[in-house]
């Protein structure tokens, strides 16, 4: 009998799973600036990337870090950066640039308690809306918020894959809890992972990096032999600036459309007990861990409570949440902020259910008991 080698099990931190997931996805460039509580990601990238032929550079600030990531991506690299609230604020202008110029890259924000410097070592989920609207103008956003170490690994791989496929920066909203928590995880074998690489134009074709008739055009790297311009201005099919109102409008529509068209692929959710629930807890990120336990306890007591977790924050799963109201009269949204995603839940249900929050914003993890108390108040 041939003994199967057991898949490797490792005790890992969320931040480590993020860095390892990035490398597994083919990341070969990191630029950033150290900031608590994301620093482990930079440290691991600094050690692991040169070993695997990749490159790491610690920039003078977060703005330069984001710019270098974009530069490296158009130089042909799979590039990423990691930061936390204050640094995420600094990166916003260039995140908008990457969205506009359609540069694939991954930005990790390990959320800490804000506003401003806040409590640097305390967890929070206060950057949910910043991830959506942090950079100016109308723009599409993809953002994940994992709840476990293994999911952090998987979603980091997925983030790279989607960014390559859609030429769209992807944000991973970790938080201090998931980032610093250690769990035993089975690291998937590299050959078991699906890895997506950006489509490149064939040699000698009349290359258009922003073709009108394509949802996403192939992306050549500088040095590949194709000439084009990259800019944060609205641009024509070759990438050169334009102010033509028709082009401007169509480009903005296409940017949004390419993400909208792939909602089903982007949106990942999990639920149980929702079909006959009177109250469903809608949750994400670290607070989903407490919510899961609270729902379990409630159900053990015989209460008709459902659990719905979204790992994808943006685009928001409006339809799936609307469907919860077929059974639930009340949706409870626990968050480690003063109530951010709850407004999207309200938008989704359009008054068909009562929507209530369970919020904690003092730098301590919301507990299952606190959520359970809210469940009992509301049911």
């Amino acid at each position: 009998m041939i003994l199967q080698k057991k898949p490797e099990s490792r005790l890992m931190q969320g931040n480590e799973a993020c860095a390892e997931g990035a490398i597994a996805a083919g990341a070969n460039f990191y630029a950033g600036y150290p900031i608590t509580p994301s620093t482990e990601i930079a440290e691991i990238a600094a050690r692991r990337l040169p070993e695997t032929g990749g490159r790491f550079i610690q920039m003078e600030d977060e703005i330069g870090g984001m710019a270098a990531v974009i530069g490296a991506a158009i130089g042909g690299a799979k590039a990423f950066t990691a930061t936390s609230g204050p640094g995420f604020s600094l990166k916003q202008e260039n995140i908008g640039y990457a969205i506009m110029a359609e540069i694939p890259c991954v930005i990790v924000n390990v959320q800490r308690l804000g506003p401003s410097t806040g409590v640097a070592t305390a967890p929070a989920q206060g950057d949910v809306m910043q991830a959506r609207w942090g950079t100016h103008g109308d723009h599409p956003v993809i953002a994940f918020s994992p709840s476990s170490v293994r999911e952090t690994f998987d979603l980091t791989v997925k983030a790279f894959n989607l960014s390559e496929k859609l030429r769209q920066p992807v944000i991973i909203l970790l938080d201090e809890i998931v980032g610093h928590m250690r769990e035993n995880i089975i690291v998937p074998a590299p050959e078991s992972l699906e890895i997506v690489n950006r489509e490149r134009p064939a040699d000698g074709v009349d290359y258009k990096p922003y073709a009108d008739d394509r949802e996403v055009s192939p992306l050549a790297s500088f040095g590949d032999g194709h000439f084009f311009n990259i800019t944060g201005l609205f641009h024509d099919e070759q990438g050169f600036p334009t102010t033509d109102p028709i082009r401007v409008k169509n480009q903005l529509l296409r940017l949004h459309q390419k993400v909208e068209n792939h909602r089903d692929e982007i949106i990942i959710t999990e639920e149980f007990g929702t079909e006959d629930a009177v109250l469903t807890v809608v949750c994400y990120g670290c607070s989903a861990r407490s919510a899961r336990q609270a729902v379990k306890l409630a159900r053990e007591e015989g209460l008709p409570v459902g659990f719905f977790r979204t790992a994808t924050i943006w685009p928001f799963p409006y339809e799936k949440i609307a469907a919860l109201t077929r059974s639930a009269r009340t949706l409870l949204v626990p968050e480690m902020n003063m109530g951010q995603l709850i407004a999207e839940v309200e938008r989704a249900v359009k008054g068909r259910a009562e929507v209530a929050g369970a919020n904690r914003f003092d730098g301590e993890l919301i507990t299952p008991q606190e959520i359970l108390v809210r469940i009992k108040e509301l049911i």
């Binding site: 703005i63 270098a68 530069g71 040095g223 944060g232």
Partner: protein, 277 residues
Amino acid sequence: MGLTYRDYLREELFPQMWCAGCSHGISLTAVARAMAALKLDPAETVVVTGIGCWGKADDYFKTHSFHGTHGRALSFATGIKVANPRLKVLVLMGDGDGVTIGGNHFIHTARRNIDVTAVITNNFNYGMTGGQYSSSSPEGTISTTSLYGTAEPGFDICELARAAGATYVARTTPYHVTQMDKLLAEAIQHKGFSVVEIISSCPTFFARYNYKVTAVEMMRLFKERAVDRERYDALTAAEKAGCFLTGRLHREEKEDFHTKYARLQQQAKARAEREVV
């Protein structure tokens, strides 16, 4: 390859967008001539710009071109160069982009000795937004945000570059086109961070408000006030203030970032392999 400077330019977009009498057109063709003189392969050359009048220069090049955000051109360029060291990277910035909003990136790119060439046209103000003062405006500068003159001294871009670690530093003016061609070619060829400052006329704003002269008179001023190191050193402090020190001001051979990093990469790889064994 037999390319002339015109092969590096998208002449179909001419006339350029700059004001009549602006010296940016002279600088643009000088950069193209340096490319031709060095026979740069357009497919291996990247022009990176930021935002500002000179920041529009990328539109005119037939090389790869990248028009970034304000002040960050050197950081984008760092990413491009570090990810693909084979590429020749030229970064075209004004004084606003290069040493004001982008000052931090400028000193750190110099310190790292990233192998890119910065071509900084210094017109001593923000032309594109209507003539406000910048960090290179000399003290007392009249601008739309300093009607009574500025109360702050301006940076000497070349001194700043050298102090921060740039390994090639030169200054020229739009009148000295032959010198400009030569210095640009030298800088592009130089391995390491090279800086060429081109003192520029902004006849629309800075020249009009401060020198109170026309574009043509600005050229005469460049001719008269540009001095080489030898003559400059003999001047009094007051005389120096009215002059432009031009020519190659600094050159040293020093390993660039990529050469050093490649060595570290080798060591890291070897260590990882040993650990596996």
